[in-house]
Structures are given as structure tokens and as C-alpha cells.
Symmetry: C2
Subunit: 469 residues, 2 copies
């Protein structure tokens, strides 16, 4: 009788069995990296893929609704302020050349989804804080508290040429401006107390001017009076996200971010980034739990590990060599088309473009002893962290990352769509749920609630008279 | 038997009877001015109104869907880049202090409507052409060709303080920049030929680089390389709208606009604006039919004319005197709170703010012999062109404007919502349809098709090889 007791309890009271680990186990956070819908440049050619998926609202709407059904934390839109700086021979083979602008797409998705978070990328180098503060506040209101801002400083130097500059702003200056930009935007979001709007038809008072703050910012880079002409966002502030990997990027994250889209190569690297950023937070007195580290993870699912690897190989085979070499050039910040394809990677000088990207590529070539051709084909496909296997093996890897403090979750990159996305939502997610490390339903309605982040207090107003004491 | 024939024909073949005037009579175009949802500052206090309507997505969504059911051409969003420059005593009584940002709101509406046009206001003084070109192109793609751009130069001088400037750019310079800005934005929309995107999975060619144009603009005010990182909009270009009334504003409209939101005081004024702008078009060789003049019209509907007037009086009574005097100050570009309320309007100097607004107010005071108080209360409510009466009397007035070339239609301002909007969609629109001067269904799917505007050719590429000959 005793040996039967354990399985019996499982079957007789499934809610107790299934709930228990949900409340006790550390939970994975899952974002979906959706611009482009796949980062893999061969994705649009994969059998069954929609070649126009990047730029077809009906497809993207169906992806967002599927991700919401699977209880993903967020839908994440990257953004670029120029056509990607690839040689034309590569560009013409890449689906990344055009996609929707983030605010228009995410706002449209806000109207046809209810819970999933909506994270837009916006540049502090080529935009202005009054515009950025307004748009995120507006998106947060329209979506009922689901907006997030991925702060980028823009690494593509071609963007400068589209904004009246002759050359790109220097790396350190970009981050200096980003830090001040963040202060201004969050200050503008605090223009009105949460309870400023009275809207009393009897007295005729619409809002209490005592509960409105004029920012009056005059800093080194920016001068903005305020107030914002929009009520405080439902989340207080939309969730702050950061994706820079350099020292300056990590420091900005430690000081300001609530989520980081990291790009570690492997678990050891992930642990080091995790410890570094959370350590920087402790050093300045921030609670490390108030920032979630979500590495980008490329997920390919098969019935067997071999089948999954075969899918990836098939996908990589769809990348033209010209595109491959272009990706390598971007990553290095140096034209690689003249390198001997079958020799090891030669030495190249450091440039003003992404530092972390260059270091990663050099390390990848060394670790795996790749030729230029092999390295280029890996980069032209997808070179970052990848989980390629069965739902079980992928869940094993995710669980290991979570428990060994490699990350708080992942920002999933799909190999091809719709099938590669459905493989994750219908096969990997149920396995994570079965293990009790991913939600079966949303805990709340806002992105902050999904991620377990506190709502920031208004820096100029206490929430209530009682709280002010 | 003969006397019975006419009514019989009406009943026996209603489709023929009803269709005939639709194809023969000149058709009204109708926009809805929706930011704020009512321009009348007392609207939020009117019995039955939603005090938060300006800032509640569910309400605005229901308004847009109702307007679409009534076959309105467009939903129009004004925009302001600062809290309105009223004295705080007036501001705190005004629902205009906050509203959604246009791109986020209109994109969300695009996802929950199918046909109605979506016109967003964007400033050429405080934004950048690459951003503007991208957002409108993206909105046009998401909405299936329903976007319009209301070009404004921004008259509120407080906006400058939110964008790092010490004082507002001078009126003439604003219009000079606007003209160049338009050239850049339309040039960016033409970055790709309509057929540039091949997306052939077999050959691996995503787009034809021969069908991509690098703008390379270097002008007096702006320098923008391009190309835009977004495909050509479905409409070719989103519809160009203009709302400036000064000489410079009208000239910009004649050169570039496809719709004008005019603000005539009365029919004589309307005819003069109509003749002036269409005359300027002829002078530069544009077809006057390719620009629709849509005056803002405040519509109050009653069972009798007296009832309609009583509704307006009730609404005006909800405007506080402080708000009234603030509106007068804005219109004059001069603080009116020190004027004797019961004396006629004193002389005031011209300022850098709106010229046309000031002239209109001075004329209104003279024509109707109003004291400062009376003038202020009219302005604090709604001072522009108004049709106050029964569905029949309102339709009579609209028909007269249409036939006497006072306008091509109207941009309707609702007195209060939802009821004031429903009165138009369910009472005035059916009367216009019965007369055969307003559509019973949309003729096409794009805003251009609704307005009867041609699709612009790409200035860099002919549509097809055949068309190029
Ligand atoms: C996962 C991930 C996503 C990113 N998304 C964007 C993006 O959407 N737009 C952009 O301009 N840069 C993006 N970046 C680049 C970073 O924001 C940053 O500009 C770049 O890494 C260079 O800065 P760094 O030297 O601090 O790494 C992304 C980086 C990572 C790792
Ligand atoms: C019906 C109408 C709507 C307008 N909407 C806006 C608006 O949304 N935002 C704005 O900054 N100006 C708006 N304006 C102001 C004009 O764009 C313009 O800036 C102003 O009339 C001053 O220019 P002017 O001297 O050419 O008339 C509007 C004007 C009219 C007549």
C-alpha cells in the first residue's frame, strides 16, 4: 500500500501537486525576440515559412496571440534607424531590410492582445526625450500597463547619416547621453502624481495643479522643461530594459535597468555576466532581484537531438556565402570579404562600432577553431547561444541556467516561423510548466507584475497623504 | 395611374433610385476631429459625457468603430508637444491637458477598424524626417493604406522649451523648414519601388537593389541620406493634410496638400479660402480636385432648432470664466486677463504665434459686437464655424457649402460624447445619405480611395517596365 501512495496522490489531487512547485520554485521569464521575426537570415526561405512575415501585420498578430496563449512575459521589438550596413550583395538576400516601426506595431498589437508585455527599442542617440517619454507613456496607457523600453545607444554608424550628422557619436558620449536621457524620461513620466486627475464634473476641476511637476531639466546634453502632456503611466514607469554589453552598457544596466537582454556565448559566460551585473547593483544599493537577466536563446526543437540538429543544418544551408561574410564584417567592424575563406581569422583593429560583438566573434573563432568561411556561415545563420534538441533536453538546459544563476529566463529567438515558434509554445513551454518553472497563467495584468518588479514611486509625489508621513 | 408611378418606382426599385444620385451628385467628405474628443472645454462636464473620454482607449475605440459604421472618411488626431499654454486656473478645468500620442493611438485603432482613414498630426519643427517617414509608412502598412499626415509647424511656443530650445523658431522659418521636410519625407517613402520586394525563396533574392533609391538629400535645413528601412507605403504616400491658415500655410497647402483642415468663420469666408487655395493650385499646375477642403464644423443636433440652441447654451454655461479668458489670450497671443470684461476688445500687438487665429478673433469681436467677456466665453466654448439645428437644417447648410464651393466636406467637431457623436452618425449622416451626397458604403479600402485622390507615382521608379515607355 505504501508504494502506491505517491502516484495516487499525484493523480487524486493534481491541483495541489501542480501548484506546489509553482509557488516554491524559481520561475523562468520568457521574452520573444520578434524583430526581425527570426534573426536567422535563412529563415524566410525555410520550407513552410512566410517570406513576408517580418512585414505582414496579420502574421505578426497571430504570432503575438500564440505567444500570449503560451503565457510569454513579453514580445520584444528590436529597432534600427537605417538599412543594415551590409554589402548590397548580402542585403538583397536578407529579410532584415525592412520591418515595422516599433511604436506603430506594438500599439496595434496592444489592441488585439490582453496580457503579453510589449517591449519597444528606442535610441537615446537619435531621438528626443520628450517624444520618447510620451510614446512609451501612451503605449503603457493603451495597453493597460504592458510597455517596456529597451534603451539602446545605436551601434550602426549609418543611422547618423539619416539624422543630419556626418559621423556617428563616439561610444562613451553615447552612453553619457543615454544616462542623462533616462533621467529626463523618467522625470517626465513623473510629471503628474498618480492621483492628479480628479475629473469632477460638479466642481469643474479636471486635475489638481499641485499634483503636477514641471521638470525644468538643464543638463550637459539635454534641456527639457516639461511637464509631459500625458498622465503618469499605469506602471508608474514602463519597464526599463537594456541590451548593451560593454562595460558602459553593463554599468547603465546596473544603474537603471529592470531587464537585460544579454548575449552570452555559453553558461560560463552567462554566469559571469549575471554575477557582474547583479554585483554592480549591490555595489550601488539596488536589490539584484529588481533586474531580470534574459539572454537571447535560439531554440530549435526536434523529436530527437539529431533531428533538431538536422533542422539547424538545413536552415544554415539556406544562407548565401555573401550574406555570411557580410555578417562577419559587421560583427568585426571591418570588411572581411578579402580574407582567405579557408584560413583562420586574421587580426583586425578595434573600431567605434560594437565592442562586445567583436570580442565575441574572435573568441568563437578561437574556441571552436573555425576558418573564416565556417565562422561566417555560423554568423550569417545565428551565432549566439542556441538550445538545439528535444523539449526535454531544452528544458534541462534552461533549468540549469536558472538554477546555476546563468540567467532569470530567456529572450527566445525563433529559427523560422510559424513552425519554429509553435514548437516552442506547444512543446517546450508545456514541458517547463510540467516542471513547475514556468507559469500556467499570468499572475497579474502588467509587464511589471509578470516580471515580478516593483512599481516605482513618483519621485516628486508620495502616493497618498498617508504614505507621505 | 400616372401620379402613382413616381412613388411606386421609388419603392419597387430602391437600388436604382438610391444609386443614381450617388454616382451623379458631388459627394461630401467627412472627417472626425478627435483630439481632444471634443474641442469644447465644457464637454467633459456635460450630462452623460465620459469625463475621461480623451484618455480612455475603450471609449475612443467605440467612437472610431461608430464613425466607421457611419462611413466617415477619416478619424483625425491633432497633436501638441507641450501642455497647452493656458494660465493654470484655466488649465486645471480643461480636459485638454492630456491625451494619447497620435501614432500609438491610431495604430491601436488600425487593429480594431477596417476602413476608416487615420490622420495623425506631426510637427516639422520638432521632429526629424527619418522618424516621421518611418512612422507614417509603418502606420500605412499596418492599416492597409489608411494613413494621413497632418503637417503642422506647431504654434505653441512652449513646445520649444521641451526640445532644448530657448525660444520658438520664427513663423517664416518654420514654414521654410516644413517645405523641405515634406520633400525629404516623400523622397524617403519612394526609397523602394512598389515592386522591389521579390521574396523568392528559390533564388534566395529578397529584394532587387536596382529598385532601391538612396535619397542623399543635403538641403538648407536638413541632411538625410536614406534609404528608408521600410517598404513603400500601400498608398504610395500617406495622404498629405495641412492645417495652417496664414499665407505661408495656404501656399504650403497648395503646393503639397491633398486635404486642408480649414477654419473659416462663415460661408463667405469658406468660399474665399476655397477659391484662394484652389486658385494657388491652378497657378502651379495642380488639379484642384486633388485637394479636399474640409472646414472644422461644430455640430449640435436637436429635434428643433431651439432645442439644439439650448443644448449649446447649456454646454457653454459649463465653461468657467478663467478658462474662457485663457482661450482668448491664446488666440490673441497676448494676456487678456487684465482687459475690462465688459468693454470692447482693445488693440493688441501682433506676435510670433498663430496669425490667422488672432485675425479671426478680432473679426469675430467686430462683426458680432462682443464685449471681452462675451468673446471669451464664445472662445472658451467653441468659437469656430457651427451648425446648430435639426438633421435637416444641418444637411441643408452642408449641402449649400458643397454646392457653392465653400468646401468639399467637413471635419466634424463633436460638442460632447458619446451622445453628440451618435447624434451625427445616426441622425445627420442618414439624412445626407438620403439626399445622395454621402456614401452608404466605402468605395474602396484606402483613405486615398475614400477621398478620391490619385496614388502618387514613385518619383524615382516607374510602376512597371510597360508604364515607363
Ligand atoms: C540581444 C540584443 C539586442 C539588441 N537590440 C538592439 C536594437 O534593437 N537596436 C540597436 O540599435 N541595438 C541593439 N543592440 C545593440 C546594443 O544596444 C548596443 O548598442 C550594442 O551592443 C553596442 O553597445 P555595447 O558596446 O555596449 O555592447 C542589441 C544588443 C543585444 C545584445
Ligand atoms: C483645424 C485646425 C487644426 C489644427 N491642428 C493642429 C494641431 O493638431 N497641432 C498643432 O500644433 N497645430 C494645429 N493647428 C495649427 C496650424 O497647424 C498652424 O500651426 C497654425 O494655424 C499657425 O499657423 P498659421 O499661421 O499658418 O495659421 C491646427 C489649425 C487648424 C485650423
Amino acid at each position: 500500500m505504501i508504494p502506491r501512495a505517491v502516484p495516487l496522490r499525484r493523480h487524486d489531487s493534481p491541483t495541489i501537486f501542480e501548484r506546489e512547485p509553482m509557488t516554491e520554485q524559481k520561475q523562468l521569464k520568457l521574452g520573444a525576440f520578434m524583430r526581425p521575426v527570426s534573426l536567422h537570415t535563412g529563415a524566410w526561405r525555410y520550407p513552410g515559412a512566410y517570406p513576408d512575415a517580418n512585414f505582414n501585420f496579420q502574421h505578426i498578430k497571430s504570432f503575438a496571440q500564440e505567444l500570449e496563449k503560451a503565457k510569454f512575459d513579453a514580445f520584444f521589438m528590436a529597432d534600427h534607424l537605417a538599412v543594415l550596413n551590409m554589402p548590397i550583395e548580402a542585403l538583397k538576400r536578407s529579410q532584415t531590410v525592412t520591418s515595422f516601426e516599433p511604436f506603430t506595431l506594438l500599439s496595434a498589437l496592444a489592441a488585439v492582445t490582453d496580457r503579453i508585455g510589449l517591449v519597444a527599442t528606442a535610441s537615446t542617440t537619435f531621438d528626443l526625450p520628450y517624444h520618447i517619454a510620451r510614446r512609451f507613456a501612451s503605449l503603457d496607457h493603451i495597453s493597460g500597463g504592458r510597455a517596456g523600453w529597451n534603451i539602446v545607444t545605436t551601434s550602426n554608424p549609418d543611422a547618423a547619416l539619416n539624422f543630419g550628422l556626418e559621423e556617428h557619436m563616439e561610444h562613451g558620449e553615447r552612453y553619457h547621453r543615454a544616462r542623462e536621457f533616462y533621467d529626463v524620461v523618467t522625470g517626465l513620466w513623473d510629471s503628474f502624481a498618480d492621483d492628479a486627475f480628479i475629473r469632477d464634473p460638479e466642481s469643474g476641476i479636471f486635475f489638481d495643479p499641485e499634483r503636477m511637476h514641471v521638470l525644468g531639466h538643464k543638463g550637459e546634453e539635454l534641456s527639457v522643461r516639461g511637464p509631459l502632456n500625458i498622465a503618469r503611466p499605469p506602471q508608474g514607469w514602463p519597464v526599463i530594459v537594456q541590451a548593451g554589453q560593454s562595460d558602459a552598457g553593463r554599468q547603465l544596466a546596473a544603474e537603471t535597468a529592470e531587464a537585460v537582454f544579454a548575449a552570452p556565448r555559453n553558461l560560463a559566460d552567462g554566469k559571469s555576466i549575471f554575477a557582474d551585473i547583479k554585483g554592480r547593483m549591490k555595489a550601488i544599493g539596488r536589490d539584484p532581484d529588481h533586474l531580470k537577466i534574459l539572454p537571447a536563446a535560439f531554440i530549435v526543437v526536434g523529436d530527437t537531438i539529431e533531428e533538431a540538429k538536422a533542422k539547424r543544418a538545413k536552415l544554415d544551408s539556406l544562407v548565401h556565402y555573401d550574406s555570411a561574410i557580410a555578417s562577419l564584417s559587421i560583427a568585426l567592424g571591418h570588411d572581411a570579404s578579402k580574407f582567405d575563406p579557408d584560413a583562420p581569422l586574421p587580426e583586425t583593429p578595434e573600431t567605434n562600432a560594437s565592442k562586445s560583438g567583436r570580442e565575441r566573434v574572435i573568441a568563437l573563432a578561437e574556441t571552436e577553431k573555425l576558418t573564416v568561411r565556417q565562422l561566417a556561415q555560423r554568423l550569417g545563420g545565428y551565432a549566439g547561444l542556441a538550445f538545439v534538441g528535444t523539449p526535454q533536453s531544452i528544458a534541462d538546459e534552461m533549468e540549469q541556467w536558472l538554477h546555476e544563476e546563468g540567467s532569470d529566463g530567456f529572450n527566445v529567438v525563433f529559427p523560422f516561423l510559424p513552425q519554429g515558434l509553435l514548437d516552442v509554445t506547444t512543446r517546450v513551454v508545456p514541458e517547463l510548466q510540467r516542471r513547475g518553472i514556468f507559469r500556467r497563467d499570468y499572475e497579474g495584468t502588467t509587464l511589471r507584475e509578470h516580471l515580478g518588479l516593483p512599481r516605482p514611486e513618483n519621485r516628486f509625489f508620495k502616493a497618498t497623504a498617508a504614505a507621505a508621513q
